[in-house]
Amino acid sequence: MSEPLKTILCGIELHNPLILASGVLGLNKKTLLLAQNGGAGALTLKSITIEERIGHESPNVAFFEGGMLNAFGYNNCGLKKALNEFHDLSCFSVPVIGSCTAQTPEDFAKIVRAFDELDFAAIELPVSCPHTPGYGLLSKQNEKAFIEKVLRKCRKETKKPIFLKINACLPNLLEIATCAEKAGADAITCSNSFPGMIIDINAKKPVLSFKKGGVSGPAIRPMVVKAIYEIYEEIKIPIIGVGGVSTGEHAIELIMAGASAVGIATGVLLRGNSVFRKCAFEILSWMKKHQYKSIEELVGIAHRNF
């Protein structure tokens, strides 16, 4: 991969700023490798919880013209098996970001302590899942007091960079981002999928078995761009933009709003595992055409007065 896309995120070197976002292909090492082979600059695990979780009954996905809705319900193998699975990360040539979630600040800290022993480049803490009871938005983990507690406890357990994953749908977004920065987060991941529902009018029922889910895909990109733009003006720590990116142009848009790196999830469905390589190529072509030598020059460029 060419140098112009080299990105330094919280001291972690990425060959391009395109990260496999949490939730897609992240259940084990072998599926993560599919995204590495597709050209991803870094890889994020699907979130691990202390106990194994089966997740929600299917359908777990539903579709509409603007993207998709999902409610998997944090299906994962649990901490014990995850420690075994991710014990040796030598098969990866790009940084791997450990993602974990819990119901209490104490449990967050417990997993972070365990993750600290492994070779993860950073640890991501989602407090913003829209479809799992006991977690994220359904358990008010988006409140300032909870986020402060989680970060203060986790900060004590690791020196690795901590990314806090929030949801751009929240009205108190800026307050949360500022509080996270103060409480020790090293970066903000914005955004998780948006709360939503799809009803099949012929069945007269919500499509997802859990009824509510998280909206992702092209439909959410304008909201995510606005959220990143606003957060960028409030905080100094980097932002990892996630939401509706499937082309290099989309990624550039998030970067111009203020994202230092960009996550891709639903984009994998649209363009296959090589979506990362395709986007990287498209970013490079755009940079060449517009005579930019480093992707860093574009971060937050939409805020500047020319």
Partner: protein, 257 residues
């Protein structure tokens, strides 16, 4: 951007037209679709019972009326058996890789029990393409067998009643003495396919197997159906060669309630 992929994966409206009971736990469902879905032999569709759940099935007929052959074996199929005529079901698909049928002149299809559902259209396609097809159909009881009339029209059917697979293996061995099969195609319970896989290897026959695992997104993104570096929903469910051998010898199927 190929956003039509979102439209393509929406559920198509289906109505249960009829349920033909074959024996106490096997039935054939005709489902009238609002829009026809195409599926090659070996591919699958996702069937949704609103408010209940979603599972993969191999259609045994496609067209405006899609047909499924179903064995009652868990909560979902039990619910399906209980649906009234005209009940709504959602259907999306097709998904997965089909059986390879190109340049096949001679083939042996081995079905065990309801595994025939994934193979009946394959037999018809192979015959249509001009291949000479033998079919070994193993079941615990003769009365559980389905599609015999359809199958007899396109291939030579050898019906076997057995508890395990001894007679199937000896039949395959006998047939392989005189026939020069390009492929063996097999679908049935995993232990059955594992034994067939071993036998094919020792007879030097190339084989394709339709494997089964719980599928969630069906699109190759959630990773729930991963086996090694393969995603069953996208790279399978049909596997052949060393990969199939490996999956079958290790076992990938997880039973559900």
């Amino acid at each position: 951007m190929r956003t039509e992929i979102f439209e393509k994966n929406k559920f198509v409206e289906g109505r249960i037209l009829s349920k033909k009971i074959i024996c106490e736990d096997i039935a054939i469902f005709d489902i009238l679709l609002e829009k026809q879905l195409n599926a090659r032999p070996g591919q699958f569709i996702m069937l949704w019972i609103p408010g209940f759940g979603e599972r993969p099935f191999s259609p045994t007929k496609i067209g405006k009326i899609m047909q499924l052959a179903v064995k009652k074996r868990g909560v979902f199929t039990k619910k399906l058996f209980g649906l009234e005529k005209r009940a709504y079901v959602g259907v999306r698909g097709p998904y997965g890789k089909p059986f390879k049928t190109k340049n096949v002149k001679s083939a042996c299809i081995i079905a065990a029990g309801i595994g025939i559902a994934a193979l009946v259209r394959l037999a018809e396609e192979l015959a249509f393409l001009g291949a000479d097809v033998d079919l070994i159909y193993s079941a615990k009881k003769f009365k559980q067998m389905v599609f015999l009339q359809r199958l007899n029209r396109v291939c030579k059917v050898r019906k076997i009643q057995e508890k395990k697979c001894e007679k199937t293996l000896s039949t395959l061995k006998d047939l392989a003495k005189t026939k020069n099969y390009d492929y063996v195609y097999c679908c049935g319970p995993e232990p059955f396919m594992a034994v067939v896989s071993k036998e094919c290897k020792s007879l030097g026959l190339k084989a394709q197997f339709s494997l089964e695992k719980r599928i969630k997104c069906a699109l190759g993104i959630c990773g729930c159906c991963a086996v090694g570096t393969k995603l069953l929903c996208k790279d399978g469910p049909v596997f052949s060669g060393k990969i199939a051998e490996k999956f079958l010898s290790e076992g990938i199927y997880e039973k559900e309630s």
